[in-house]
């Protein structure tokens, strides 16, 4: 969502404030997620943070595809070879102790890297168990996650976001807005000194917790972070205790961006007493009995929520305890994986094979005394005797075995014609298939089309919890934009293939197209385009299965299946189990055996 332009100066002011608070307590607030494209606003903000942090505080930038060796620390190869004994190298997280790490392109951050960061944030130390080293180094740092995501779905891993106090969005801030009073480094320094002595009253804690509840924030980290921010704010204002305005500020900066629901001002319309409803009511009772301080905090948070967001949230009100965009674990994780290590073998690091340094050194180790004495005998001058003599036959390379993953893309027709008869059955079939995918550890993606668009309900994932949830929430009704849907499926399959996985498309439709690509409603054009899209699908080489969901098998669906060279399967009777078997057969036929990668 893009907040309106009028709010932009206020946005920047808040961002500046957040920078100051971060500089006051980078360790406690744990950091900022900064959503903005590269540009003057982001650069200005980063410069500001650098200028506000003490001179001595390190600021380290972490590139997206950082290796574990550099992130956590590992074996320093050059030093090891020079010294003739293992020498450890410090990782960036240890270097950044007392300062800030800047994560570039955090929206594409691998789940595994995020897990390492959060572990270090939680425990205040980096634990390394790799390359024959066991190190435990205390380090405390703040994180600035630069999020360049454009859509709602592109955001840094939820596990990381949950721990960062500030979620800023600078995408609507223009250059002319970049004007706000800035505190000086001296102010910040004074505030840092005061921070430890700031006290927070019990009612302040209660107010933040109540506000977080009322805003539907499930994680208990949110009020904790808000409390620390309130402390930092009080320190910045040279107060010895947290005041009402500090709490309000903390609520605005920390709680508001995490809100998943509006605190309902009136009781919800009377309905049959269902559990979620009752929950709402108890929330309301809490809201009614709020004392003034809690109201102030809540109002502050509420005022900072852009109106467009609220409309969205109210629509999605049913599913509010869990963040729908949480974790794209499957997708990202697999992009990072180069297959499963399948041992080490002797060989030279050529043709893409990676030298396994530690194993190479291990192979060379037993020969050292022999080789050193031989080298000394040959050479005129004595060489430094601690050097490690590595010969060609010591080289060891890591082998990876890459098992190609299958990603089943379900393209579900949720249009009126299907919804009437078979949507429930189609859902049942998909659920059965999902269970099957679980057994085979396949990934699933879910595309639904109705009205004018095809929507990616679920990017490829292995989390069945999410798959099931998005399927349950799928509404039916509307026209059938079949061509659009097929094109979307082909695009998605392409993306899947680029990650090195094998896509299989499963279309559940009755084959009647009535919306054209341009949104027009001429049936003839829509049908023609659907067939053209089907041919494009065939040309792309995508394996497909078309399940005819119409009450009686129709020639339209059959023709469509022929055009896309898909297996055609009518679903005349409600028998989801038969569908499951068919998909299994199709997927198995395309599944390649384990492919060894040299």
């Amino acid at each position: 969502m893009t907040p309106s332009a009028a709010a932009a100066p206020a946005l920047w002011e808040d961002a500046v404030l957040a920078a100051s608070l971060l500089a006051v307590d980078p360790l406690g607030t744990a950091g900022v997620s900064l959503r903005a494209c590269p540009g003057p606003a982001r650069d200005r903000w980063l410069t500001l943070v650098r200028a506000l942090l003490p001179e001595s505080a390190p600021v380290r930038r972490i590139p997206l595809h950082i290796g574990d060796g550099r992130l956590l620390g590992g074996l320093d190869l050059a030093a090891t070879l020079r010294a003739g004994r293992p020498v450890a190298e410090r990782g960036i997280l240890v270097d950044a102790d007392g300062g800030v790490v800047v994560l570039a392109m955090a929206e594409r951050l691998a789940q595994s890297t995020a897990a390492r960061l959060t572990a270090a944030l939680d425990t205040g130390e980096v634990v390394v168990e790799r390359d024959g080293l066991a190190l435990r180094t205390p380090t405390r740092f703040g994180v600035v996650a630069l999020d360049e995501g454009l859509t709602e779905d592109e955001k840094p891993p939820a596990a990381l976001l949950d721990r960062l106090a500030f979620h800023l969005d600078l995408s609507a801030v223009a250059v002319r807005d970049l004007d706000a009073p800035v505190s000086s480094r001296a102010d910040i320094g004074a505030a840092r000194d005061r921070l430890a002595a700031v006290v927070a009253g019990e009612d302040g804690v209660a107010a933040l917790c109540t506000a977080a509840m009322a805003l539907g924030i499930a994680s208990i980290r949110a009020p904790m972070l808000a409390l620390r921010v309130a402390r930092a704010a009080a320190a910045l204002e040279a107060r010895g205790a947290v005041a009402e305005s500090d709490l309000a500020l903390a609520a605005r900066l920390v709680l508001a961006p995490r809100a998943t629901q509006l605190p309902a001002p009136e009781p919800p319309e009377p309905e049959a007493p269902e559990p979620p409803d009752q929950e709402d009511r108890s929330d309301d009772e809490g809201a009614d009995q709020q004392d003034p301080l809690e109201e102030v905090v809540l109002d502050a948070a509420q005022a900072a929520i852009p109106p467009g967001l609220l409309a969205q949230l109210q629509l999605a009100g049913r599913d509010r305890t869990r963040n729908a965009a949480a974790g794209r674990a499957g997708a990202v994780q697999h992009a990072m994986r180069r297959g499963r290590p399948a041992g080490v073998r002797r060989g030279e690091p050529r043709a893409g094979a990676r030298l396994n340094v530690v194993e190479t050194l291990r192979a060379a180790a037993p020969w050292q005394p022999l080789r050193r004495s031989a080298a000394r005998g040959e050479a005129a001058q004595d060489r430094p005797s601690t050097r490690v003599e590595v010969h060609r036959e010591d080289f060891r390379v890591t082998r990876y075995r890459h098992r190609s993953q299958t990603t089943s893309i379900f393209v579900v027709d949720a249009s009126g014609s299907t919804a009437l008869h078979r949507l429930a059955e189609a859902k049942g079939a998909v659920e059965l298939l999902l269970a099957d995918c679980y057994v085979r550890r396949d990934q699933v993606a879910l595309l639904a089309f109705r009205g004018r668009t095809a929507e990616l309900l679920l990017p490829p994932t292995r989390s069945l919890v999410r798959a099931k949830r998005s399927l349950a929430g799928l509404p039916g009704g509307g026209a059938t934009p079949l061509a659009t849907a097929i094109h979307a499926a082909v695009d998605l399959a392409d993306a899947v293939r680029r990650r090195g996985e094998t896509p299989v498309a499963v279309l559940l439709t009755d084959g009647t197209a009535n919306v054209a690509l341009d949104g027009g409603t001429q049936r003839a054009q829509a049908e023609e385009e659907a067939l053209a899209a089907a041919r494009a699908l065939r040309a792309s080489g995508l394996t497909a299965l078309l399940i005819d969901t119409s009450p009686r098998p129709r020639p339209a669906a059959h023709k469509l299946a022929m055009e896309m060279d898909a297996v055609y399967l009518p679903l005349p009777h409600a028998d989801p189990a038969a569908v499951s078997d068919a998909v299994r057969a199709t997927a198995d036929a395309t599944r390649p055996a384990a492919v060894p990668v040299p």
Partner: protein
């Protein structure tokens, strides 16, 4: 090591705390899996438990921390000397070893000691994390993100209680009996069924929903962060009380009777729920016995089964991952059928 949050100061999360206590009382239970929402204190609880455990006696200079009294299951260092003389021993803290993500295989199983090999040309074995975790706990945070080849390795060792290393010309075997503790968030991916089965108990944690509990959580955490030592000091008495309870329960454990009727009840419950294999029944009975020992009861009864059945059986149901009723609900239904409402 920095001061850790005291175990007894953790608000709520009773099921998780009970499961960890059971594992502390009876390590043969086979480990605890904690799955749940973000920010519910999963890692905090495990680290707190580490500080809570009473110290144990271990052989001096044994790299694996062997038991001084036992004769079986010793490591290669202790085995030859054991018959001739009683070994010197000392009190050491029970190891709770973190298996960090990104750990490499050589560090987990142990490998050739690089330093000695490079500087002295000696072939020596450098024990890894599994050796360090022997007789203690191995904790894997974000267990569902663990790489597959490490999972394979753990499965094998956890099943056999012995780590066999055959690499770089080394041939070493040493005992590695540990309690596996895993935690993670189910939204980030499922766990492999084989690994799931290795955990004796599986606990689901949720963010507390009521406001008073939440305020208390934030308040205590805040107090802890402001003054960790002072906070730990204030809870020291509670901690000691709990530690004494664990020690006492361990002593009582062998004496707790499991009557045939109780065995039958456990079997009924497992049959009713259709759990695979006998591991479910075994864990159920063991966990119930541990609870009876903790509560100072002489005999295992229905009340104990009721408390532990969800954690002991939840992850063993033949699973339809898409069944609307979660496994917990199914177990509760089964309990109501066998033990009455």
């Amino acid at each position: 090591m920095a001061t850790v949050f005291p175990f007894s100061a953790i608000v709520g999360q009773d099921e998780m705390k009970l499961a960890l206590l059971i594992a502390a009382v009876d390590p043969t239970i086979g480990g605890v899996l904690v799955f749940g929402d973000r920010g519910t204190g999963k890692s905090t609880a495990v680290r707190a438990m580490a500080a809570l455990l009473p110290r144990m006696r271990a052989v001096v200079h044994c790299p694996y921390g062997c038991e001084p009294e036992s004769v079986a299951g010793l490591c290669g260092v202790c085995q030859p000397t054991r018959k001739s003389e009683a070994p010197k021993s000392r009190l050491v803290p029970v190891p709770v070893v973190d298996l960090p993500l990104g750990a490499t295989e050589d560090r987990v199983v142990g490998a050739l000691d690089l330093e000695r090999a490079l500087t002295r040309g000696e072939k020596a074995f450098e024990p890894g994390l599994l050796a360090r975790a022997h007789r203690g706990f191995l904790y894997i945070d974000e267990v569902n993100l663990l790489e597959d080849h490490l999972v394979d390795l753990l499965l094998d060792v956890a099943a056999s209680g012995e780590n066999v290393v055959e690499r770089e010309g080394l041939s070493v075997r040493h005992p590695a009996r540990f309690v596996l503790i895993g935690s993670g968030n189910p939204e980030e991916g499922e766990l492999r069924p084989q690994l799931l089965d290795r955990f004796g108990m599986s606990v689901e944690v949720k963010t507390p929903e009521d406001i008073a509990t939440r305020i208390e959580v934030v308040r205590r955490r805040d107090a802890f962060e402001g003054d960790p030592e002072g906070f730990a000091e204030a809870w020291k008495k509670e901690e000691q009380k709990l530690r004494r309870r664990i020690v006492a329960a361990r002593k009582r454990l062998p004496a707790v009777a499991v009557p045939d009727s109780a065995m039958e009840r456990a079997a009924q419950l497992c049959i009713g729920l259709g759990t695979d294999g006998l591991r479910g029944e075994l864990t159920l009975v063991r966990a119930a016995r541990a609870v009876a020992a903790i509560d100072n009861h002489k005999e295992v009864g229905d009340a104990h089964f009721r408390r532990v059945a969800p954690s002991a059986l939840r992850h063993r149901l033949r699973r339809n991952p898409l069944d609307d009723a979660g496994s917990t609900v199914r177990v509760e239904r089964g309990i109501a059928e066998v033990f009455g409402p």
